[in-house]
Amino acid sequence: MEAPSQSTNDVAIEVEGISKRFGALLAVDNVSFEVQTGAIFGLLGPNGAGKSTLIRMLTTLVPPTSGTAVVAGHDIIRDPNAVRESIGVIPQNMTSDPELTCAENIGIHARLYGITGARRRQRTAELLEAVGLADRANALASTLSGGMRRRLEIARGMVHDPQILFLDEPTTGLDPASRISVWEMITHLRVQQGRTLFLTTHYMDEADRLCDRLAIVDKGRIVALDSPVALKSSVPGASRIELQFEPDLPHGAADLEALPAVKSVRALGSATYRISSDRGPASAQELLELARQHKLELKSLSVQSTSLDDVFLHYTGHGLAEGAEGAVTAGPAKKGGPR
């Protein structure tokens, strides 16, 4: 293992063979990865894939069964309090107190980090301003909308200005407008001071929009890890092109199959074809060239590039919605195993 002083320079989180077992269920299965400082790292997977368990281990809420991780230069098992000092956590469940006001929620959280007196008041005001809740400072948290409540949670997690921020499904259950406002806030957080963000999500669009690097998690294991762009380009034949010629090609589908980037062609009738290709834009170029050669008119052309859904399907063999079988998340200890 690297010495903590070395890893803090560029590696914010280093996970080594971490596992978590709840009774007979292996919720997280020997997972290893690194997160670079300043990156937005995402865990994408269906409910029950083990995302929350993993984030709860990294934030010292649940001890791992085996393996360990170094977060902000501190081992989560040997020095959990140093980890807690360095991270901010926005858990999946709302953990702000509904019977306290926004300002009180932030102020009490500040006190939990040892921030008191004038600095506490100043920090509370700053954060309320930053998350757009300054005018709701004295409103009870129970009166806030879902999106506002989530922004309050984010403000709370930021109270001690942490190097690393963990967000567990930050937009689950929010309406589209609130999701966008939370996304903007997350992007904004990263821009400031090169903070590292670690988030989990089961939304493809969220992962695609926010993350620099993305780990696809299924049944407790990481099945793929790269940037969203690289992940998408790693899926063969995932770009789909539909086009119609006027008049039809001289040799029909055979003319298209001869093109280098094209993997397969399906004739849909009336000079319309569906092509799957490894490289969507390059194939489109070749098709335009083909039409010019044969002096044909292209009546329609649509390129559908690879989505993370395709990536997910490719790596796990099932869609996001189907992955919840054998679902496990770490919860408060209950008799009879995990919930």
């Binding site: 309090n81 807690r84 953990t95 009490i108 006190r111 939990l112 040892g114 408060p332 200890a333």
Partner: protein, 370 residues
């Protein structure tokens, strides 16, 4: 250490905003104090006593006059004449009468011949309190019949004079220490146990556990805020109850200080006990389910409403293990006897020992992880 005060601040802010908790903790002990305090311990009055005079001689008239004197003055029973013994007993069985006095045939003759005449009192022993009161009153009455008309200058028999060292103690005063302990228990249950489990299940604890607050600070914070709330409830009932029940010389500073110490020790012991019980529980139904069980197990064996001396042996063992017993005894000693702190060192020791044991147990059980 300072981080623990974040939890105290949270609870105090919520407490100030919504004093419903204090109210809920006070209603039951206050009602109990007022209703039980007035329902129990009063003198039994107006029991209807059927009188069947089978004798009709001069000595039976003496008995009847004495019975009517009780009916007119102490009013423990109100005599009603019956001619037929069977009808009187039938009415006793039906609950119309609380007792039947039978003056037998030849009572006057036996009396004059000094032939040990017997009066018969038939009581409804399904109600021991009524039967006991009527029996005691009749025993006094018979003793007065037997008393010589001219008292000898030297009493030939030993006599017992009972001297009460404290002013008259009515049942409400007797009940007050139990009500104070009950108010503390209610707060420990609602503001301690219930709130703790509800916060846990609502995920609020998760929010604390991701911060650098230590296990010790969490335990201190939870218990300290609970103790403050329990003390507020206990002190409120103490002052209200002392005024309602009319405890003499209640507002002496030294006495108030001693009482406050007892309230504080009781609060620490009961809040600590609640925290110990709840340390590993996460289902919000559990504290609700055990609420009544705990109340019965702690309150009734404590001597709060009936003296422990009247308990069977096994129940006295339960009383000895019940921290309520020491709270009630200590508070009762300070409230009714006003003898100072030295009289309750045993109670103080028991409560401190209980607190140490439950807090040590809670610390062992409490986990700083989900």
């Amino acid at each position: 250490m300072m981080r623990a005060f974040a939890l105290v601040e949270r609870d105090m802010r919520k407490f100030r905003r919504s004093p419903a908790l204090l109210f809920a903790s006070l209603v039951m002990p206050l009602l109990q104090l007022i209703i039980l305090g007035n329902a129990f311990g009063g003198n039994i009055k107006n029991v209807i006593l059927g009188v069947v005079n089978l004798d009709r001689g001069p000595q039976s008239v003496d008995v009847l006059e004495r019975v009517r004197a009780v009916g007119a003055n102490a009013r423990t029973f109100l005599p009603t004449d019956y001619d037929d013994q069977g009808a009187a007993i039938a009415d006793l069985r039906k609950g119309v009468l609380g007792g039947v006095l039978i003056i037998p045939l030849h009572y006057s003759r036996d009396m004059l011949e000094q032939h040990q005449p017997h009066l018969a009192l038939i009581t409804d022993n399904t109600d021991r309190s009524v039967a006991g009161a009527v029996g005691a009153q009749m025993a006094d009455l018979v003793a007065s019949i037997n008393a010589p008309h001219v008292a000898p200058r030297e009493a030939p028999q030993a006599a017992l004079d009972v001297v009460e060292v404290y002013p008259y103690i009515d049942y409400m005063k007797y009940l007050l220490p139990g009500s104070v302990a009950l108010a503390i228990f209610m707060t420990a249950m609602i503001g301690g146990g219930l709130l703790f489990i509800d916060d846990k299940s609502r995920g609020l604890h998760e929010g604390y556990m991701v911060t650098p607050i230590t296990k010790w600070e969490l335990i201190l914070g939870f218990n300290l805020s609970g103790v403050i709330k329990a003390m507020l409830a206990g002190e409120t009932i103490l002052v209200l109850g002392a005024v309602v029940a009319g405890v003499p010389n209640f507002f002496q500073p030294a006495r108030l200080l001693e009482l406050t110490l007892m309230v504080a020790l009781t609060s620490v012991a009961l809040i600590g006990m609640m925290f110990f019980i709840m340390a590993r529980i996460s289902d919000p139904l559990v504290p609700r389910a055990i609420f009544g069980v705990l109340n019965t197990l702690l309150f009734f064996p404590s001597g709060a409403i009936y003296p422990i001396a009247g308990f069977p042996r096994w129940l006295r063992w339960l009383s000895a293990a019940d921290p309520f017993t020491y709270a009630v005894h200590g508070l009762r000693t300070l409230l009714l006897k006003d003898v100072g702190i030295t009289a309750i060192t045993g109670d103080i020791f028991a409560l401190v020992l209980t607190s140490a044991l439950v807090l040590a147990g809670a610390t062992l059980l409490f986990r700083r992880t989900l």
